[in-house]
């Protein structure tokens, strides 16, 4: 009944077999003598041999490496030639690539020479050297001597690949006697078309066997759910495997080439940075001061991003400021308090420093000390207890336009005819022999055009309850004095 196919001419059988794979052909050779004859025919194996291989070994100028009888091409059978193409890689493209065929499938395989890879620091002889090894396919291989940053990249044009094929790139290497430093340091490997994101994962180049079971946390989380937690699920490819030729290889990923994708397939092997994540940096910065944060922004781009993040500046902004500007009734300085939500916390912070707002029904002016983020106040003159204040002949209330922005409502007090305020006692003592402007407690000119005089220091630890009080009294009663305007008493942190 089955005899029909046996009667097919050998040529037809060969044509059919040539559409299968080399592996199928070898199996089909066992069917019958006719099949064997067909399956071993040049017609079939010529079909399996990529034309690039034939042109590479015929063109003597292309640097075919396996010297073994490239001249005998014409005399040996195509099947022998195919097997040679599988077992004896040849050098092509001026020695940049090693080229052979995958025996079962006949697909094209390549190894990119180390010289063709982009190896960071490879031109520095202290870090990387070029040596010859008898067991290598290329005249030179790269030896890692000592390097603090490990990075290797390689590319191959997709036009060289066999279509409809899933390719798996491997990094081929072997450890030397002095090998160390890869045990705890994962490397990230990436495979993909140049310019695309590619797929990446983390592997270890360390060869210790215990590695094998350690990395399944890198795999998708569902693997846990299958109850394999104590068993390494498919750990293939996350640590190096021993090859038949004595080298080790580590899988870099997978790439399916359909035949249409143009460009280069690129592969990279990079050390994984052990840098702190931005979140941790931001957490640390939020424990420093605004001044530190601004300086730390200059460390690196990650630091800058962390140092300018809302998380950090939110930490620096006193909650009282936020509630003061959100409560509209509290007399927030008119300047765009509505934009609070849209601006960054850092912008808000800077506004809090540069634009004091009135709080407590205008009794206090409130702002934030820029370098430290500490709260600062100025007590309005109306809130000060001033002797004789109720006597208009002695004290008056006036309005001045040069008040800081948004504070036009503030009232200032004018000493028409009152006693000169007494400066702190220390001041007085020193003043006795030395003019105050030279040392001690001079009157200082402020940026806003007013004058100020330091009244003393007070350290607030956080537990002290009660009021901080300040007094300015004349030492001796006596002569009449006049002509000063008092804006208020300002309280701000001591400059470091």
């Amino acid at each position: 009944m089955m005899s029909g196919i046996l009667e097919l001419p050998e040529g037809c059988i060969a044509a059919a077999i040539s559409f299968t794979s080399p592996r199928d052909a070898c199996r089909l050779a066992c069917v019958s003598t006719t099949f064997r004859s067909a399956a071993e025919s040049d017609a079939v194996w010529d079909h399996f041999l990529p034309p690039e291989y034939l042109s590479a070994i015929s063109g003597s100028g292309s640097g075919a490496a396996s010297s073994s009888s490239s001249s005998s091409t014409t005399t040996s059978s195509k099947k022998e030639l195919y097997l040679r193409a599988c077992h004896n890689p040849i050098l092509i493209n001026g020695g940049k690539l090693s080229f052979w065929l995958d025996k079962p499938s006949g697909k094209k395989c390549y190894m990119i020479s180390a010289r063709e890879l982009k190896i960071v620091w490879s031109s520095t002889p202290e870090y990387w050297g070029w040596i010859s090894l008898p067991e290598a396919r290329f005249p030179e291989v790269a030896e890692l001597r000592s390097v603090c940053w490990f990075e290797i990249r390689g590319e191959i044009s997709t036009s060289l690949l066999s279509p409809m094929t899933t390719y798996v790139p491997y990094l081929v290497f072997k450890p030397t006697e002095e090998s160390f430093g890869f045990g705890n340091n994962p490397v990230e490997v990436t495979v993909g078309l140049s310019g695309s994101e590619g797929q990446n994962r983390t592997v270890y180049l360390d060869t210790r066997e215990q590695r094998d079971i350690l990395f399944y946390l890198q795999l998708p989380r569902r693997r846990f759910k299958r109850g394999q937690a104590s068993v390494p699920p498919d750990d293939r490819g996350f640590s190096p495997e021993k090859r038949g030729d004595g080298w080790l290889e580590i899988e870099l990923g997978e790439f399916f080439y359909g035949g249409e994708e143009e460009g280069d397939l690129s592969m990279s092997i990079l050390e994984v940075k052990r840098e702190l994540p931005e979140g941790c940096i931001a957490a640390a910065i939020s424990f420093t001061s605004p001044r530190d944060a601004c300086r730390l922004a200059c460390v690196s781009t990650t630091f800058r991003s962390a140092a300018e993040s809302d998380a950090v500046w939110d930490h620096f902004l006193p909650p009282e400021y936020l509630s003061a500007i959100s409560g509209s009734g509290s007399g927030a300085s008119s300047s765009s308090s509505s934009s609070t939500t849209t601006s960054s916390k850092k912008e808000l912070y800077l506004r809090a420093c540069h634009n004091p707002i009135l709080i407590n029904e205008g009794k206090l002016s409130f702002w934030v000390d820029k370098p430290s983020g500490k709260k600062c106040y100025m007590i309005s003159a109306r809130e000060l207890k001033i002797i004789w204040i109720c006597t208009p002949e002695y004290w008056g209330w006036i309005s001045l336009p040069e008040a800081s922005e948004g504070q036009k409502r503030t009232v200032y007090l004018d000493t028409r005819r009152d006693i000169f305020p007494q400066l702190p006692r220390r001041f007085k003592r020193r003043q006795a022999s030395v003019p105050p402007d030279d040392r001690g407690f001079p009157l200082e000119k402020r940026g806003d055009g007013w004058l100020e005089i330091e009244l003393g220091k007070f350290f607030y630890g956080g537990d002290e309850e009660g009021d901080l009080s300040m007094t300015i009294l004349e030492v001796k009663r006596g002569n009449w004095k006049q002509g000063l305007v008092f804006q208020g008493i300002e309280i701000r942190p001591k400059e470091e």
Binding site: R211, Q218, C280, F287, V299, K370
Partner: protein, 180 residues
């Protein structure tokens, strides 16, 4: 004080047969047998066991991002806090906690501190992470940019122009920093 620690630790060791231990494996392959309440301070461990009903006591949980050295430091901290909690469940003895934390961190180099922050972040121990970032903050306060780069092993990835512009923008933050 020391007697109370000794007695409680001896009582805990006598009851250790009943006490559940959890096996954690670090990146370099060392397995730590950790008392359950201590291990549960590691959020990643807690959620692993909460999410996976089929894991057993024999399960060894791998922690590929944590080195053995960092693990020792982390367990020292978590065990101390578990001990404080056990002795005073209501409120931690603040002074003792502060004394422990001060001594604990004094012995850590900058590199160790960084490794510990990475590990605490990965293991998701918020209390320890807060503490360690606070310590890191103290060590970089008022320090030069160059010092901080060396401290964290950070590469300067600004272009010279970018860095110059930034330094100009933040000029006021550079006055009077500590000598390196």
């Amino acid at each position: 004080m020391s007697s109370s620690i000794a007695s409680s630790s001896s009582s805990s060791s006598s009851s250790s047969k009943k006490e559940k231990k959890i096996s954690l494996k670090t990146s370099d392959g060392e397995v730590f047998e950790v008392e359950e309440p201590v291990a549960m301070q590691l959020e990643i461990v807690r959620s692993f066991f909460a999410d996976n009903e089929d894991v057993t006591e024999q399960t060894v949980m791998p922690l590929p991002n944590v080195s053995t050295a960092a693990m020792h430091g982390i367990l020292e901290y978590c065990r101390a806090h578990e001990e404080f909690r056990r002795r005073m469940p209501e409120a931690a003895p603040e002074e003792e906690v502060r004394a422990f934390e001060a001594g604990y961190v004094d012995r850590k180099s900058n590199e160790e501190l960084k490794e510990m922050i990475l590990a605490a972040n990965y293991l998701n121990i918020s209390k320890l992470l807060d503490f360690l970032t606070g310590v890191a903050a103290k060590r970089i306060e008022n320090k030069s940019v160059e010092y901080v780069r060396a401290f964290f092993g950070v590469e300067n990835d600004f272009t010279p122009e970018e860095e110059a512009n930034l330094r100009r923008e933040y000029e006021w933050a550079f006055e009077g920093v500590d000598e390196d």
